[in-house]
Symmetry: C2
Subunit: 206 residues, 2 copies
């Protein structure tokens, strides 16, 4: 089970590590952290994760995972990356994204006419492509072999679901228990429809 995770500067760390933690526990999982160069990539707050493979070293993968982050807008214009995503998707069993990563799939034409999602703050941008954007705040949306996730933390839920599709419910449940994934957020404001108006307003201003 070959899993390729694409990394770029100004990614969101949890977009990468949420699904990574789940998928790396799949029986036989081999993880390939892939970048345009073999180097440490820096997230929005300075964390450095190493990409040990370049694009041309990983042209096939069972799962292709595209995370999001503020850097996505810059990477959208990188034709080498777009061509790589298109190539890997040709033979992937699953092509998945977290947060704004779905924009890169859309830019590569992989979401054309498909139902998909993204971080709530990125949905307007996603709608500018020829795609169908889910109206609600589903954690993930599956359309054929493509699964797109909502913002940041949603990649954990998506990856557990993906494990259940690949290896069955029992394996997914074992991984969930190993991660003690019984979340209890201290507040109930993880989506715009649940957050108090003042919270939403202060985010729009910032």
């Amino acid at each position: 089970m070959k899993i390729a995770i694409f990394l770029f500067d100004n990614y969101t760390a949890l977009d990468v590590i949420g699904p990574y933690e789940v998928l790396s526990k799949l029986p036989g999982a081999q993880i390939f952290i892939v970048g345009t160069e073999k180097k440490p990539y820096t997230d929005s707050h300075g964390l450095k994760i190493f990409a040990e493979y370049t694009l041309n070293e990983v042209e096939h993968a069972d799962i292709l995972l595209i995370p999001g982050g503020f850097g996505i807008d810059y990477i959208l214009k990188n034709q080498e990356v777009i061509a790589w995503i298109q190539k890997v998707d040709l033979t992937s069993a699953w092509t998945v994204s977290v947060c704004a990563g779905s924009l890169l799939l859309a830019e590569a034409g992989l979401l054309k006419g498909k139902m998909c999602t993204s971080h709530w703050g990125r949905k307007k941008q996603l709608r500018s492509y020829d795609v169908m954007v889910a109206e609600g705040y589903e954690r993930y949306v599956k359309d054929g072999k493509i699964i797109t996730s909502a913002g940041v933390s949603a990649g954990i839920d998506m990856a557990l679901y993906l494990v259940s599709l690949i290896a069955g419910d029992k394996t997914a449940k074992i991984i969930q228990l190993a991660m003690e994934y019984d979340p209890k957020p201290p507040f109930n404001c993880g989506t715009p429809d649940k957050a108090p108006k003042e919270i939403l307003e202060s985010m729009k201003r910032s």
Copy 2:
């Protein structure tokens, strides 16, 4: 707001990145990834995160965070690390752990007589110290300035709670919404009391 995160080989990546993603969004947050050496540290599945500071470069921090992972048993015997944790804790505002990271706090004597927790599979080991281990599956346990978390994913809940203590509920809610943290695990088996017996048994066998 100086935040020191200790890294060692065979850490669990989500133990680090769950709280990192939350705490790095604290206003004025400065993150210091600290190791015994300045080098990339490898998690249990091969991911490399860079530690950019050595122990003697970071002797004070507002928040000291100790993640867990299989490598914790090896690092428990490292007297240089134990002494560093004791030193940083002397002036920290908060000393916190995720998963098996609480064992390192216990080994350093910081949990003596205190109420604490750990990954469900590590509680027996934690009880071997002179500490009070919470009976249930609370996501985190606060005793004075020390907060210990349950397994892996619990660090996200703990960090949001910590943000609310430091910067108020509004800031914590803004961060939760930014991360779209509205978790919906596909299964309800994140703790041993919720998991089917066959799942628990298969984990004990493995």
